[in-house]
Symmetry: C2
Subunit: 199 residues, 2 copies
C-alpha cells in the first residue's frame, strides 16, 4: 500500500476483533521494518513491550479507562524508551559509519546529552513518535488497523510492566482488525499550522 494511501486510510480504531490472531511472521515484518525509523544519533532508544498475557492485558485495561482495544487488539505494544541509551556503549550505533564520522560523533553525543535530562527525554519521546508512525503505517500496509493510546495511568502501567527507573513510557499502540466505526476526520488547514520563515 502506498504511503499516501496508508496515511489516508489510517484512523484510530475504536474496537478490534478479539478473536483475530496475528501470524508471528507478520509481527516480525511489522517490528523489524518499524525499526528502520530514524532516531537521534541512531541511538534506537526504543524498548517495546509486547503484552501477550491476557491477565496483564486486563490489568492494563483497568487503568486505561476500560478501553476495549487494550484487551481485544491482536498486538498491544507499550512504547518505552531507555533514557540512558546514549551512554551505553554508544560507538556500536555507528559501527558501520566511516571512522572519521565515529570520531566526530562520539564526543558530540556526550556533550549533547550529559547533564541534560530534558534533552534526553525530548529525544526519547520524538523517537517513539517516529517509531509509532512507522508501526501504524506498516499495520495499514499489512492489512491491519491501529490505535495510538495515551489515555491511561502511566505510573500504574509502569508498575505492571516493571519499567526500569531510567526508562520512560511514551504511549501504547494497539494493532488489530478494526470492527468499529469512526467519525469524520477533522484536520486544521495548512494555513493554521504552516508558518513561512518565522512566527
Amino acid at each position: 500500500m502506498d504511503v499516501i494511501q496508508a496515511l489516508q486510510q489510517r484512523r484510530a480504531a475504536k474496537a478490534f476483533d478479539p478473536n483475530h490472531q496475528m501470524a508471528p511472521e507478520t509481527r516480525r515484518v511489522l517490528l523489524e521494518n518499524a525499526a528502520l525509523a530514524p532516531s537521534a544519533y541512531n541511538i534506537q532508544h526504543w524498548r517495546v513491550v509486547d503484552v501477550r498475557d491476557p491477565a496483564l492485558r486486563q490489568a492494563i485495561r483497568d487503568v486505561a479507562w476500560g478501553q476495549s482495544q487494550v484487551t481485544d487488539a491482536s498486538l498491544l505494544l507499550v512504547l518505552c524508551a531507555d533514557l540512558n541509551a546514549w551512554q551505553e556503549n554508544p560507538q556500536r550505533y555507528w559501527a558501520t559509519a566511516p571512522q572519521a564520522v565515529q570520531d566526530f560523533l562520539l564526543p558530540k553525543l556526550d556533550e549533547y546529552y550529559r547533564g541534560k535530562p530534558q534533552v534526553a527525554r525530548d529525544e526519547a519521546m520524538r523517537s517513539l513518535g517516529l517509531l509509532g508512525m512507522a508501526i501504524m503505517l506498516l499495520a495499514q500496509d499489512l492489512g491491519y488497523d491501529s490505535c495510538p493510546m495515551d489515555g491511561f495511568d502511566f505510573d500504574a502501567v509502569a508498575r505492571l510492566i516493571q519499567l526500569p527507573q531510567d526508562h520512560a513510557i511514551g504511549y501504547m499502540i494497539a494493532v488489530g482488525k478494526s470492527v468499529g466505526t469512526v467519525w469524520e476526520r477533522n484536520r486544521e488547514p495548512l494555513s493554521h499550522w504552516v508558518i513561512e520563515n518565522h512566527f
Copy 2:
C-alpha cells in the same frame, strides 16, 4: 511507493542538490497528507516553520554545525509545537465527533494537561515524531529524500524563527534530492528492544 519500501529506502541524506526546486503542488501534497498523522486528543499541536529565505537558511546553518543540508534542501522545515494548544478552544478538535464523545473528552483533556507541563511537552515531542515520520515517508513516496536534524543550537534557532514563549522546537527535517552517499545501515536486532510482557 509501498510503506515498507519507503521505510527501507529512507536514509538520512548527507547532501542535497542545491539547485533542485520543489513544485508548490508537491509541497502541498506533502504537508497536507503529513498532517493526517494522529496527535493526542487530535490537538494537532504541530506548528511547522517552512524556511525559504536564503539568508535565514544560512543563519540557521551557522548554528547547526555548518551542515549543508540546511541551505541546500528544497524544503527546510522546523518542527515546533504549541505547548498550550490543548487549552485553545479545544472543542474544535472534535467538531466531527458524536456529542457524547465530545462531552467525555473535553473534561478529560483539561484533567490530563492542566498543571502538568511535562505531560504537555512529552505529548508535543511525540506528536512531532509522528508528523516527522509521515513527512519523511511521504518524501520517499514523492521521489525525494530527507534528513531529520537535531544537531543545532535550539535556543539560537528559536530566536531566528521568533519562536513564541509557549512553543517548543522538536527538530528540523530537510527534504530534497540527495546527491551524497550513505553508509551501511545499522540496526539492533529485535531481541535487543522487544520485551515480552514485562522487563
